[in-house]
Amino acid sequence: MGTITLRNVRKAFGDAIIIPGADLEIGHGEFVVFVGPSGCGKSTLLRLIAGLEDLTAGEIFIDGQNVSDVPPSKRGLSMVFQSYALYPHMSVRNNIAFGLKMAGMPKDEIEAKVMKAAATLNLTEYLDRKPRQLSGGQRQRVAIGRAIVRQPKGFLFDEPLSNLDAALRVNMRVEIMQLHQDLGATMIYVTHDQVEAMTMADRIVVLNRGVIEQVGSPLELYHRPDSVFVAGFIGSPRMNLMTGVVAAKHKAQTIGVRPEHMAIIPSGGDVDGTILLTEHLGSDSFLHVDGGEAGRLTVRASGDFAGKPGDKVSLKFEPDRIHKFDGSGRAVR
């Protein structure tokens, strides 16, 4: 089991309110990603769940039990830290075993669990090395090993991949997803990278200034963003957000259209503009278009698009893909 429930969770450091009040239900075995720009309170929320920060107000339940005042080690959660936080003077074996040793487990049982965790993570041949003798990816695996060996109800990941290079990050991403499938445990994963969020999550929690903007599956967030913030944050390249006359035509304060939902036609589209730049990725081309009143727009075109900077284009929005937002930034449907 591993359900986690937040009820009106608040956190303030003195006068600075980090999280004004968050409610969230996380089901057993779910992979939930907290995503948002830096300083949005996503790490604080994770640390509140872990018990590393005290709640200012509100309650946290794990498996229906109120753990608001329970110390971190008794909550049945494991955490993987951004810097891995391995114990530098201990071998990999002792790093993984330490939590069990502190829990007073018999030695042979610890050894069996460590070996099993090491085998899962391909660490068997490194068990007697010190952390500083390992590569970044291996350290990451040790940190995960330390987390899984305790067989927690849930895993908490605090930006675990941000210290790895791009290629390794993609590999570890797949490994963590694989691990989630194998263990079937609840996982909460914090990241500022919306690509990580989209690819890994069962559900994404988008945070902005401590407020949960929207919770939903990756595709829900992509297709039906509740606010301008979510619309702009999810999706790469960013959604084009337009205000003024262009938006007024659709009876909204702001409208948003994703680059992939615009067609390039010779004339008579929703917006006429001039190509400023083209980026050719092979499969696609991204055009940066000066749309006049619509502002600067990004448009996805086919990989062999032949337009050059300076060319005039007209852009036709797919009518059912136009997101409309009111003055307060909420979606109008």
């Binding site: 872990a50 590393l52 110390p71 971190p72 080690s73 008794k74 959660l77 494991s78 955490m79 830290f81 951004q82 810097s83 936080a85 391995l86 114990y87 003077h89 201990m90 330490f98 939590g99 502190m102 829990a103 500083r132 330390r146 305790r150």
Partner: protein, 302 residues
């Protein structure tokens, strides 16, 4: 980058300072070695060198070769063994007190206590007090059997006064010197404590580490290197303690090797014997340093 030419140029450029430092070290050392083989007494300008040693008179200061006689007399002097023991006792006790006390104080000062900065400053203060001043303060204000603060405390408790320097001179010296060196150990260990990784602390918290285990498995290994540094540096300086013993007048019973050398050289005016003692002290210090490095030096690697 380092071509033949730049390397040669580099050597020429550093040569003056290397030569100056080398001379600075080697001249006094070689003079001491030279004196240690001479019969050289300021009070007894006895020209009859041949009475003691068959050597030839060297100059009008009535110095003559003595061979290894100075060493023989110094090393067989019962005072030498006593001084050796006092030296080692002083070093050992002060290091033990300052490392253990320094670790405890540093742990305390690492907490967010009210007025922490002032407390830190006050804790560091004894290190800036000159040894002679500290000896006078301890002798006349703290440990004096009549008007001393410690005597006042013990008398108020009805225990009677202790005449520290008369009855427990070695203990008194150890207390005095520990008071001076405790801040140094505290400072170094505190700095190391403050560099302890916050996330590691939290990881230990997630692992459910109780405070004592946290200290034993996390803090102590983290402090291994600074404690090694404290031990090495304090050993060097504590072998040289002189002012506290001299000023407090405890040289007779708590005198260490430097004090014995002083007795030879300035009380007996026996320059040859004092030089021999000085050389013996240098050799002993090197032996101690060698074993220290063997024992704990590996903490300093990587």
């Amino acid at each position: 980058m380092a071509t033949q030419q730049t390397r040669a140029l580099g050597r020429i450029a550093v040569a003056p300072s290397v030569i100056a430092l080398f001379l600075w070290m080697i001249v006094p050392l070689s003079m001491t070695i030279w004196f240690s083989f001479l019969r050289y007494n300021l009070l007894d300008p006895n020209p009859a060198c041949s009475l003691l040693t068959p050597g030839q008179l060297l100059d009008e200061a009535n110095r003559c070769f003595a061979g290894t006689t100075n060493y023989y007399y110094f090393l067989t002097d019962p005072a030498f063994f006593k001084a050796m023991r006092n030296s080692l006792m002083l070093v050992g006790w002060v290091i033990a007190i300052s490392v253990i006390g320094g670790t405890l104080l540093a742990l305390l000062l690492d907490q967010a206590i009210y007025g922490r900065n002032i407390v830190r400053l006050m804790i560091i203060a004894p290190f800036f007090v000159m040894p002679t001043v500290s000896a006078l303060v301890w002798k006349n204000m703290m440990m004096h059997p009549v008007q001393g603060f410690l005597a006042w405390i013990t008398k108020s408790l009805g225990l009677g006064a202790i005449d520290w320097f008369a009855h427990y001179p070695m203990t008194a010296i150890v207390i005095m010197v520990s008071w001076q060196w405790l801040p140094f150990a505290t400072l170094i260990i505190l700095t190391a404590l403050q560099s302890f990784d916050e996330e590691q602390k939290e990881a230990a918290q997630m692992d459910g580490t109780p405070p004592l285990s946290f200290f034993w498995y996390m803090i102590l290994p983290h402090l291994a290197r600074p404690i090694t540094v404290v031990i090495l540096i304090e050993t060097i300086f504590l072998l040289n303690v002189f002012a506290e013993i001299y000023v407090s007048g405890s040289g007779g019973r708590a005198g260490n090797l430097p004090y014995l050398v002083y007795q030879y050289g300035l009380l007996s005016n026996d320059i040859g014997g004092a030089s021999a003692g000085g050389i013996v002290a240098v050799v002993l210090a090197n032996i101690v340093a060698f074993f220290l490095m063997r024992m704990i030096g590996k903490n300093l690697e990587g």
